[in-house]
């Protein structure tokens, strides 16, 4: 078992190194994506700051500041491109080359995800840091105890895994559907932005919509880690959130495995 883990770590490091080198070949693209990731939360921050001043919600100005300054960091580490890369591989047959290696093809996507997101974070960090410094006297006090930070990192890791698994499910539809872009737009972009907390924190949703958001997986990929960081969640909500996030991850991984096996059986490897 130890030898297998050690081998996997070596392969992982080699894949990360290869992906980092590839990603660095597209520095311009990364810069454009960085601007895109920062722009929307900044515009939304400006809008919600004005709302917070006029009407009383559970979020105050300081909470909105913390939330929208941190959003680019969360999205840069949770976003993935497997919905584009894997269906393309299925369509043009280039999945064949990964299927012929003694390494599950999805590992390549996992490490591509980690490599590109880590680089993206490096590009992006200056913006939240500058905003944090600019507004430092207006930000709320965050519990920096090791216990609280560990909890935050735990739910953040859950968000990274869950978002990747959701993206993979959309990607696997590529075995049956020629183009999965629309599917991705609806389930992984539109609903995620609305119910995940991209436009407004889930804690500020009206009660009925909040029930729906709590039951679906989107919240646990974006809003939930930031709610945990803010530190105002009652313990019961915190436990329910963690349990729901883990349950969705397990169920979707199982569904993904079924789709993967069925998809391969159905696949013709055209062009490959």
């Amino acid at each position: 078992m130890n030898a297998r883990v050690a081998k996997m770590v070596r392969i992982g490091m080699a894949l990360l190194s290869a992906h980092w080198q590839s990603v660095l070949a597209y520095r311009g693209t990364m810069l454009v994506q960085t601007v895109q990731k920062i722009m929307m939360p900044t515009v939304l921050l400006a809008a919600w700051l004005s709302v917070a001043r006029k009407s009383g919600t559970s979020y105050e100005e300081a909470d909105y500041l913390l939330y929208f300054i941190c959003i680019p960091i969360v999205t840069s580490l949770t976003s993935c491109s497997i919905m584009y890369t894997l269906p393309a591989q299925i369509r043009d047959g280039s999945l064949s080359r990964d299927l012929l290696k003694p390494l599950h093809p999805l590992w390549t996507h996992v490490f591509e995800h980690l490599a590109s997101n880590a680089i993206m974070l490096l590009y992006l960090m200056p913006a939240p840091l500058l905003l944090g410094l600019w507004f430092h006297d207006r930000l709320p006090a965050v519990d920096m105890s090791p216990r609280h930070l560990t909890l935050f990192l735990g739910v953040f890791l859950l968000a990274i895994i869950l978002r990747f698994v959701m993206g993979t499910l959309i990607a696997l539809a590529g075995f049956w559907i020629e183009h999965v872009e629309t599917l991705n737009l609806v389930f992984n972009a539109g609903l995620w932005a609305m119910l995940g907390g991209m436009i407004v924190p889930v804690e500020t949703f009206p009660p009925t919509i909040r029930v729906i958001a709590n039951a679906l997986p989107y919240r646990y990929t974006l809003s939930f880690p930031l709610e945990v960081l803010r530190g105002h969640l009652p313990i019961t909500d915190l436990a329910a959130g963690i349990a729901t996030g883990i349950s969705w991850t397990v169920v979707l991984i199982f569904l993904g495995r079924v789709l993967w096996l069925r998809g391969l059986l159905n696949w013709s490897a055209y062009g490959g």
């Binding site: 081998k7 070596r10 392969i11 490091m13 080699a14 894949l15 190194s17 290869a18 080198q21 590839s22 070949a25 047959g93 280039s94 064949s96 080359r97 299927l99 012929l100 290696k101 003694p102 390494l103 391969l264 059986l265 696949w267 013709s268 490897a269 490959g272």
Partner: protein
Amino acid sequence: MTSQQSALNADNEPAILTCGLRRSYEIRHKAEGLIASIKGLFKPEFSFIDAVADLDIRIEPGELVGFLGPNGAGKTTTLKMMSGLIAPTKGTVEVLGRNPFRREADFLASISLVMGQKQNLWWDLPPAETLALHREIYDISEPEYRERLKQLVDMLEIGDVLEIQARKLSLGQRMRAELAVALLHRPRILFLDEPTIGLDILMQKKVREFLLEYHARYSPTLLLTSHNMDDVAALCKRVIVINRGYKVYDGNLDRLTALARLDKILTVTFASAPPPGFDPKRLGTLVSAEGGRFCMKIPRDEAPRVAGELYNSGGVIDLTIEEAPLEDALADLFARPAS
């Protein structure tokens, strides 16, 4: 890895064995026009075609076998089933004693499939990086990796391209680097699907020479598909021919060549008008005629005599003799009556 590999077939058992192998594809039909498209949404029409049908093949370890057939005969589909990329619809396939579609790690570490210009190389990285990555994936020790790499680099003459981005390499350089990547783990079974496609004559020759040398050193079982008769003639004594999914020939290449009556393509260009008495239809089958340039299909044995006759008739400024495309000859062979 070593203990797992011992579970694969021993060297005295068949390397590849198929029995009644069949693969069908579902084809959706749609008639022309908008109304047919709308109708197809509610009542789609499907049919099944057999890309491979009832294929029985037995290949022994270390054999070099050519796998031939016209376009659409089912060659690539068969290779994909043998390498585990797609599942058979019916029948069985065993490679090294394993069901390829299970894609067990030790099985995958024992095979390699080279498909024309399909890439194993990472497009944005130099081949050295892809090779290093494959070293980790195939769990090759550092000294072993160094030794294998040196051998492959020497045999394929790619020492000068290892540190150049793959996308900046010429087609020939890339193909040879692809071969190095595909062979780094010393596969016991090597599937080659059109390995010389798109390469110039010199590079085709280099690739063939390399494959022969590699086979002489390591004796992998090699199954080759190619439309290039020179590839098959240089590498394979045994050939298997399939047509419309069915095996129609399995045996010696020389006998197939005699049966298929491989013609030569003779192209002659006259300085002005052809000499009096020149009748291309008497010499062979006229393929094309344009001004003073005539292209003819000539029976293989007749080619030297006809070429001599044309030279002696005077006025010839150019004359070339080439192999007729293999698939033309095979299509002719299959189109003949069964007798």
